[in-house]
């Protein structure tokens, strides 16, 4: 979950000032809390229906590794949707970048340039260039983003397949590269064995017995939770010092405690398996970065203003064309990262990599409360939306629900979430 590595975003200043009583603070934040509560409810539901498999450390790691690329791309998609656009090409771009990476590492004789790190950097740059190429038409020539990126979706899927030579897949990819998706952070502190594993008669340890904790994970988790609490308290203090009302103290304490407890529980689960997945760390850093950019930085504010009223933003001195271009470049880079994560997870590049994932990404953002009209949407919402989709995928797969029906359920959840939003807005 994001909570463990996100260093306490500055909260919703917007909602914090008004309420005097806890109840009104709760109702004003209903959307945000509601979404997180929905995720928890869904997780608890699947915990029961899968007989406790969902929260097993190994499954949690799987869940993160399966869904990380959706969440990473959802971060970019959030900005695209907030600025009033859409990007249908992200799945194809991800597929193309995966193919490009595989060709560079496995097929083409590039010598030192086939090093996974070098290839990854080149691929991110190529992703940015693709975003720029699409964004250019959208920003400077006012071609609707739906059309430009629909074209991009066809073009890059085609190039992806052509690159891989029709229906074949390219692999295996080097282990160093695969670590991006399936690796875990190294335990630099060293493991702590609480219960020694059982050794059977043959002198071999039985897998999964005993309890050894990945101490680096534990320490990182503790630092993140402490930072979360520290920044929360500091923000409160600052508000009070300036004479502004903060949210009710009781609510703040409950929120911080529940958040920390959840985070620590997850950290513990990861620590008792193989530690934090690398990709979770990458995701956590990105989520924190995007929360900070959208909540605290001028560029974030400008994106929301542009999505809310592009003409007014323009007449306020905001270069909306350049801003749109940057939003699409960002989306391109994150699509490329998504493509690398997919390829690393599969260990090879396949022609269908990322096929249809643009829809999952867009669904995650809308479940997270973004408005299709632009100007509205939160990073945390999109992330939670992505996890809701991911947990449902994972849970239903474990339950053995047919893939066809999984789609039906996901569609209904998307529709339900948006109806809930619209209903709420009309009531207010």
């Amino acid at each position: 979950m994001s909570t463990e590595s996100a260093p306490a975003p500055q909260g919703n200043v917007a909602e914090e000032q008004r309420p005097r009583i806890a109840v009104s603070a709760l109702t004003t934040n209903l959307r945000e809390y509601g979404l997180i509560l929905a995720l928890i409810a869904i997780m608890v539901f699947f915990q029961f229906t899968t007989n406790g498999t969902l929260f097993k450390p190994v499954n949690l790691s799987n869940l993160v590794q399966q869904n990380s690329f959706i969440i990473v791309m959802a971060l970019g998609m959030l900005l695209v949707i907030v600025s009033g656009h859409i990007d249908l090409s992200v799945g194809s771009v991800a597929g193309f970048i995966g193919a490009l990476a595989a060709m560079m590492m496995v097929i083409w004789p590039l010598g030192p340039f086939s090093n996974p790190l070098v290839v990854s950097i080149i691929c991110l740059i190529v992703g940015g260039a693709i975003g720029a190429a699409q964004g250019y038409w959208i920003a400077y020539h006012r071609i609707p983003s739906f059309i430009v990126t629909l074209a991009g979706m066809l073009i890059f899927r085609g190039i992806c397949q052509a690159l891989l030579g029709g229906g074949s897949s390219v692999g295996p990819l080097p282990d160093g590269f695969k670590a991006l998706s399936s690796g875990f952070i190294p335990d630099v502190i060293g493991p702590l064995t609480l219960i020694p594993p059982t050794v059977n008669a043959a002198g071999k340890t039985i897998m999964g017995s005993g309890l050894t904790l990945h101490m680096t994970t534990i320490v990182l988790g503790l630092i993140a939770v402490l930072a979360y609490a520290y920044f929360g308290v500091r923000t409160r203090r600052k508000r009070e010092r300036h004479g502004y009302e903060a949210e009710p103290f009781a609510l703040f304490v409950v929120k911080t405690l529940v958040g920390s407890a959840l985070a620590l529980f997850l950290v513990y689960q990861f620590a008792s398996y193989r530690g934090l997945p690398v990709v979770l760390l990458v995701m956590g850093v990105l989520i924190s970065l995007f929360v900070f950019v959208t909540k605290r930085m001028t560029i974030g504010r400008r994106i929301y203003a542009m999505g809310g009223n592009s003409k007014a933003a323009q007449l306020s001195g905001i270069n909306t064309e350049r801003l749109t271009l940057m939003v699409f470049i960002n989306m391109g880079v994150l699509s490329a990262l998504g493509g690398l994560i997919i390829a690393a997870r599969l260990g090879q590049a396949v022609p269908a990599a990322g096929l249809g994932s643009e829809l999952d990404v867009i669904a995650a953002v809308f479940i997270g409360g973004a408005s299709a009209m632009g100007g509205v949407g939160q990073v945390i919402g999109a992330v939670v939306g992505g996890f809701i989709m991911g947990v449902m995928n994972n849970g239903m797969s474990i339950m053995g629900v047919n893939v066809d029906w999984q789609q039906v359920v996901k569609g209904l959840v998307l529709l339900g979430a948006v109806i809930f939003d619209v209903y709420n807005k009309n009531k207010a």
């Binding site: 200043v13 502004y244 504010r301 203003a305 809310g308 009223n309 003409k311 323009q314 007449l315």
Partner: protein
């Protein structure tokens, strides 16, 4: 005395937390033009929404008696069936459909779902004749001006066999000429026996056409004035609840050297490239001076201002802008802002505000640098700034976290003004700064303008309301068809002089 056609008795309407109307009474006689006036937020529109069934029966208390029978409208269709038709301030026409299609939208003459266009167009022609509009029924709405669109709305109302016509601020976006034509039309309808309710801010219009005036303030009926008692002063006193001895705040101009100068400014139309919209304009503004630009709708005033402000309008722009004698580059909005020029738009909803965000974020948008360090916004400073400007410009809202979309027109205008005040410009161009806002808020805006001038800013006010220009400016330029056709000190100007300059200029411009 004519029989009473409409009686609204003790209408009370509450929204969560607010009493919008309390015991409002309105009685309209058959065949009269009855004006309903009041400040923005006084409850005029709410009252009309109750009458037309937008707020269905049961959501309010009180009685509506129309043509002798009590009515309980469940929706707009019910009231239209009885002959009550409302024309809203924001026109509800479909731009890409023709006049005929719009007039009969949802009400087409058809057999088995197949539209009989000949019949529709013939009837449209008849209706257009009635409202005095010479246009082909097949003309698209997008190709006719706002004044004509207003007439189409009225023709649409007539097609529904209207007995009581309600016009909500019908002249808000019309030029003087179109407004006059519209009012004449209302008088013509009256002669034919139609009853109308006119909601308006423009007291001179009310004065001209109304037989009776009902004043609403804070959701209550204050009084109903008969024709002989109607006077602007009387209405204003009644509207604001106090006597406004002067509609314009007193001010001692302290005028310094020339700060802002535009030389030989020319602009061509953005689409019709050969059409010159602005034809070599020269103006200058001094420190501490308020300069007005008068002119009719379509004179090119807004186009001039927007082309100055970062080339936000037009193509092939030429000319020179000088600040304190030095030529400056204003080729983008951010450059113009950096040089200390601000433009407050005439259309705050489309060009001025992010309506789905709150006051605080709107105020700081044009000067985010002023509340941030290294591109990181300082929440506390931003909040302090927003509260400061909220106080300075007297924005009435529950807090700076209120959505600007939920504010009244006057308060929205104050938010837009605050945004530009926070950008701290030397030159402030205000385009129709009091359009569609009530008398009380207007006075507040005038006070802000006077204060800014006293602080030494150079101010340009574009306005279609001549009394306003005469009341608040020091010097007036008159513009017509893309040229400056007159310039006069406000002290020597009069509405007649301005009109004469326009008319004389009309011959010259080619």
């Amino acid at each position: 005395m004519a029989p009473t056609i409409l009686e609204m008795r003790d209408i009370t309407k509450t929204f969560p937390g607010v009493k919008a109307l309390s015991n409002v009474n309105l009685s309209v006689e058959e065949g009269e033009i009855h004006a309903v006036v009041g400040e923005n937020g006084a409850g005029k529109s709410t009252l009309m929404k109750v009458l037309s069934g937008v707020y269905p029966s049961g959501t309010y208390d009180g009685q509506i008696i129309f043509n002798g029978g009590e009515c309980q409208f469940k929706g707009i269709h019910d009231s239209e069936r009885k002959g009550i038709v409302i024309i809203h301030q924001e026109l509800a026409l479909v731009p890409m459909l023709s006049i005929a299609e719009n007039i009969f939208l949802g009400n087409e003459h058809a057999r088995y779902g197949i539209i009989d266009w000949n019949s529709n167009e013939a009837r449209t022609s008849a209706l257009l004749k009635k409202v005095g509009l010479k246009e082909d029924p097949k003309t698209l709405i997008t190709n006719i001006g706002v004044g004509k669109q207003q007439l189409v709305e009225i023709a649409k109302a007539l097609s529904k066999e209207v007995k009581l016509l309600i016009l909500d601020e019908p002249t808000a976006s019309l030029s003087e000429k179109d407004s006059q034509a519209l009012l004449d039309l209302l008088l013509e309808f009256k002669r034919q026996g139609m009853t109308s309710i006119l909601i308006s801010h423009k007291l001179n219009e009310v004065n001209r056409v109304a037989d009776k005036v009902t004043v609403i303030r804070d959701g209550r009926t204050i009084e109903t004035l008969a024709k002989k008692d109607i006077s602007e002063d009387r209405i204003i006193t009644s509207m604001v609840g106090r006597s406004l001895d002067d509609r314009y705040p007193p001010r001692e101009p302290d005028i310094g050297e020339v700060v802002f100068e535009v030389k030989n400014w020319s602009v061509y139309h953005p689409i019709h490239a050969e059409r010159q919209v602005i034809k070599g304009i020269d103006i200058n503004v001094r420190k501490g001076e308020v300069v007005g630009i008068a002119g009719l709708m379509g004179a090119g005033r807004t186009e001039f201002a927007m082309s100055l402000f970062g080339r936000s309008y037009g193509r092939r722009i030429s000319g020179e802008v000088l600040l304190k004698g030095k030529p400056v580059d204003v080729s983008s909005v951010s450059k113009a802002v950096q040089h200390g020029i601000a433009y407050v738009t005439e259309d705050r909803k489309t060009y001025g505000l992010n309506l789905i965000d709150h006051i605080k974020h709107n105020i700081t948008l044009a000067n985010l640098g002023g509340v941030s360090r290294h591109s990181v916004i300082d929440d506390m400073r931003e909040l302090a700034v927003a509260n400061d400007y909220r106080k300075k410009t007297n924005i009435r809202a529950s807090s700076v976290y209120q959505m600007t979309g939920n504010l009244s027109g006057g308060n929205q205008q104050k938010v837009v003004l605050s945004k530009w005040l926070f950008a701290d410009p030397d030159v402030l161009i205000l385009d129709e700064p009091t359009r569609g806002i009530d008398v009380g808020a207007k006075y507040e805006i005038y006070t802000i303008i006077a204060r800014l001038a006293a602080e030494g800013k150079a101010i340009v006010v574009i306005s279609s309301e001549m009394p306003e220009l005469l009341g608040i400016t020091d010097r007036i330029y008159v513009m017509n068809e893309g040229r400056i056709v007159g310039e006069m000190p406000a002290a020597e100007a009069s509405q007649e002089k301005i009109m004469r300059a326009i008319v004389r200029g009309e011959g010259k411009a080619a």
